[in-house]
Amino acid sequence: MGCCCSTEQENLSQDGEVNERTRLLNDPVSNTYQVTASSIIDVGALECHTLEQHEYIERVRTYNQRVNAIPQVKTSNKRHHEVQLLYDTPATERVLSAQPISLADFNMMITASQKVVAAVAQIRVEHKEDLVVPFGIP
């Protein structure tokens, strides 16, 4: 057994034509250079897109309208670990001593909750049509 290595020097063709000794792959460095050169974007040479004054004002107005059209979301500025659900009331005893909910309301809540749980448990997917259909592109 032995390895088959040639010790001969590379014999490039004299006139640059492709022959059996030409490298199959291009020089990787020049390849990278060519790709980069063709992809480069010269920012400095781009056209100058300055807005005219009236265009600028118009855009400011349009963008402000769009921003104001979005419904405001009340975001609490309290930190994560601060009490958010309750507000501070001075009437401690009065609030704590308030009459509890009536038996009728309590039973109503229990019944309603049980119905909700039962209803959610019954949610099913109804298979009506095939999910994957072949397109009929003529």
Binding site: Y87, V95, S102
Partner: protein
């Protein structure tokens, strides 16, 4: 000083500071650290705006957790979290 008997049907009380430290406890809620942690989690982690999107966004006056025979009433007062355990004695609406 918060004592037993100031709230009707009270069987226990627990007072926490706004960051969850137990200030006072008594009755059935004496040393009820688990309760304290649970209530604190509930009060600080729930974003009311996300749970009730259509709501005005105002915070609640109190929160009651009502079981068949007892309830816990929670309120925030003077920067402290007050929790009271009460026997649940439902009142029937007065029929006129």
């Amino acid at each position: 000083m918060h004592g037993i008997g100031r709230v009707p049907d009270e069987v226990g009380h627990l007072i926490l500071s706004e960051d969850g430290a137990v200030i006072a406890s008594g009755g059935e809620l004496e040393n009820a650290e688990q309760m304290a942690n649970t209530v604190l989690c509930m009060l600080t982690r729930i974003n009311k705006g996300q749970l009730w999107p259509g709501d005005s966004g105002d915070a609640f006056k109190k929160i009651s957790i009502t079981y068949t025979d007892h309830s816990y009433v929670i309120c925030l007062s003077n920067k402290n979290i007050h929790i009271v355990k009460r026997r649940f004695v439902p009142h029937e609406p007065i029929k006129v």
